[in-house]
């Protein structure tokens, strides 16, 4: 079974991002970039499926500028077999990414597509679902457990009320939640080996996709700041303040 995994290059989750002073965009010059944490979980899941003998080949795809190759190489070091880089300097919105992925799904015919449920920059939580619509494939979103058997995949999903399990016919799309697995670290020899794995370079135009943005960001600003609070000395003072000052209990 062939598995296609999508990974996104994003600002590292430890970086506290701030708007630029003129509010035109976020200030992310020279900050650390990484694989989106949810995408890392997607790569790990694919590698585990390969280790279990369920997956035979893992193709990793990333979209964006030249530097996305770093994230593709990281995924190759973690165990993906080959890479596809959809290279463009254009702004890619989730619909455009889903369209490019859909073209690659048509070309590669994977049995399973695994991707993160959201990227921690845009926090959109859209791309997997949109790929589902465009390809007509079923979706198992926010997955905390994935089991492939008998031409189907059972996906346990983290939903507001608890957990829900759905059964999807293959091929299918899975988007990962945080508790699906704990990603491994790449070992040095694997990082060296990853350098020799093949990475194909294509453009959105090659895939026949118009990536023109549909939404425009007019402004970015910091969220409303909270007023500095106080430290209370003990529980009695806390209860007194909550009763008489804040009047919330």
């Amino acid at each position: 079974m062939k598995v296609l995994v999508a990974v996104k290059r994003v600002v590292d989750y430890n970086v506290k991002v701030r708007p630029k002073a003129d509010g035109s965009d976020v200030d992310i010059a020279n900050v650390k970039m990484s694989i989106n944490p949810f995408c890392e979980i997607a790569v790990e899941e694919a590698v585990r499926l390969k280790e279990k003998g369920v997956a035979s080949e893992i193709v990793v795809v990333s979209m964006g500028p030249k530097q996305c190759q770093e994230q593709i190489r990281t995924a190759l070091a973690l165990g993906a077999d080959r890479g596809i880089h959809v290279e463009t300097d254009a702004e890619l919105q989730p619909l455009a990414v889903a369209k490019c992925l859909n073209a690659l799904v048509a070309k590669e015919s994977p049995e399973l597509v695994i991707m993160g449920k959201q990227s921690i920059d845009g926090d959109n939580n859209q791309t997997g679902q949109m790929l589902g619509a465009l390809s007509g494939l079923p979706q198992g979103t926010f997955a905390s457990e994935v089991n492939v058997a008998d031409g189907k995949v059972a996906v346990t999903r983290e939903v507001d009320g608890g957990l829900q399990t759905v059964s999807l016919s293959l091929p299918a799309i899975v988007t990962t939640d945080l508790r699906l697995n704990e990603p491994r670290y790449a070992k040095l020899p694997d990082i060296m080996k990853a350098k020799r794995k093949p990475v194909e370079n294509v453009s959105p135009e090659d895939l026949g996709v118009d990536v023109a943005p549909r939404t425009k960001t007019l402004k970015v600003e910091p969220p409303a700041q909270r007023q500095a609070g106080i430290k209370v000395s003990d529980v009695s003072e806390l209860v007194e303040k909550l009763k008489n000052e804040a009047k919330v209990i």
């Binding site: 991002v17 976020v26 589902g132 619509a133 983290e158 507001d160 999807l168 960001t217 529980v235």
Partner: protein, 309 residues
């Protein structure tokens, strides 16, 4: 302008988030219809017809929609929704699962998790775990939107008398099926709607110690939440997680116990009216957002608090 609101419900009753979404629709302005898709969902449809400000309720009652499978519900929303200028749903796991799929069928770039309506085509939404608020304008003919419940008041659930109309089209993709669910049962209020929330983190050490928080919660009529670390460690189930990738809460009072205050946790609770933090580390970042901080060992402070309430 004409707006279609997708109701969140369990066939028997409407979920509160639907009411907040109706308020968001009202701030856009125009006729508001509500779509109730489900199986045996007549009661939910009747409840929707009572929401004040709703023009018409469309009911798609079919076995295929029973468990809100995105493969079946999204084509229904796309088919009905294309007659509207806006399609809105709550930004719950159900809304997030279905709406992008419906949007792509309409060739629309959806807008997730809006916190304000600036105009009919312009909305504010948090990005980067809420560290940045973006103002976004959509050029699509139909606006497909999910709404953050805590950012909009609930519309009145009584007083309306909308017409109820049946929708006959059934979409059954046949590629997905519902297997089962494990839903948390609790007599406490729902996290996202509670007036008081008390949450525990890794500092709680285990699931048994959460009993201390449940006791206080029952005194205050509060819901109990948790950090990701507490959920990952198996202290409590996933539906209790508050944060960037968990639930977004904005109660009158939020009490964080043994939680350090990582940005991903703050993303889910920093719009609470009053924040209390109990943590033994006075440098913990949670104190930067706390109105009242208590530097103390939680195993002493929490039982004492319980005694004094």
């Amino acid at each position: 302008m004409s707006i279609l609101v997708i109701a969140e419900h369990d066939n028997a009753s409407l979920k509160g988030a639907t009411l907040n979404t109706v308020t968001a629709a009202q701030s856009i302005g125009g006729d508001i219809d509500v779509l109730v898709a489900g199986a045996g969902c007549g009661a939910a449809a009747e409840a929707a017809a009572k929401i004040s400000g709703v023009n018409k309720v469309l009911v798609a009652d079919n076995a295929a929609y029973g468990h809100q499978l995105a493969e079946n519900v999204a084509p229904l929303i796309a088919e009905i929704g294309k007659a509207y200028t806006h399609i809105l749903a709550p930004a719950t796991t159900t809304g997030k699962n279905i709406m992008p799929r419906a949007a792509a069928l309409l060739d629309v770039q959806p807008i997730s998790d809006i916190i304000s309506v600036e105009s009919a085509d312009t909305f504010k939404r948090p990005v980067y775990a809420g560290n940045v608020i973006a103002t976004v304008q959509s050029a699509d003919v139909t606006k497909v939107i999910t709404v953050r419940g805590t950012a909009f008041d609930a519309a009145a659930g009584e007083g309306g008398s909308a017409a109820v109309e049946a929708v006959d089209t059934a979409h059954d993709s046949g590629v997905s099926s519902f297997v089962g669910e494990e839903l948390a049962k609790s007599d406490r209020p729902e996290l996202t709607a509670a007036k008081v929330v008390i949450s525990g983190g890794r500092g709680m050490q285990n699931g048994e110690n959460f009993e201390m928080l449940y006791k206080i919660a029952d005194k205050l009529g509060a819901a109990v939440g948790a950090s990701r670390a507490a959920v990952d460690a198996g202290f409590v189930p996933n539906d209790m997680q508050v944060g960037q990738t968990g639930k977004i809460v904005a109660p009158e009072l939020y009490i964080a116990v043994g939680i350090s205050g990582a940005i991903q946790h703050l993303a889910g609770m920093k719009d609470s009216k009053v924040i209390v933090a109990i943590n033994k580390d006075e440098e913990a970042p949670i104190f930067q957002v706390a109105d009242y901080g208590l530097v103390a060992d939680l195993f002493e402070a929490v039982p004492e608090l319980d005694g004094k309430l």
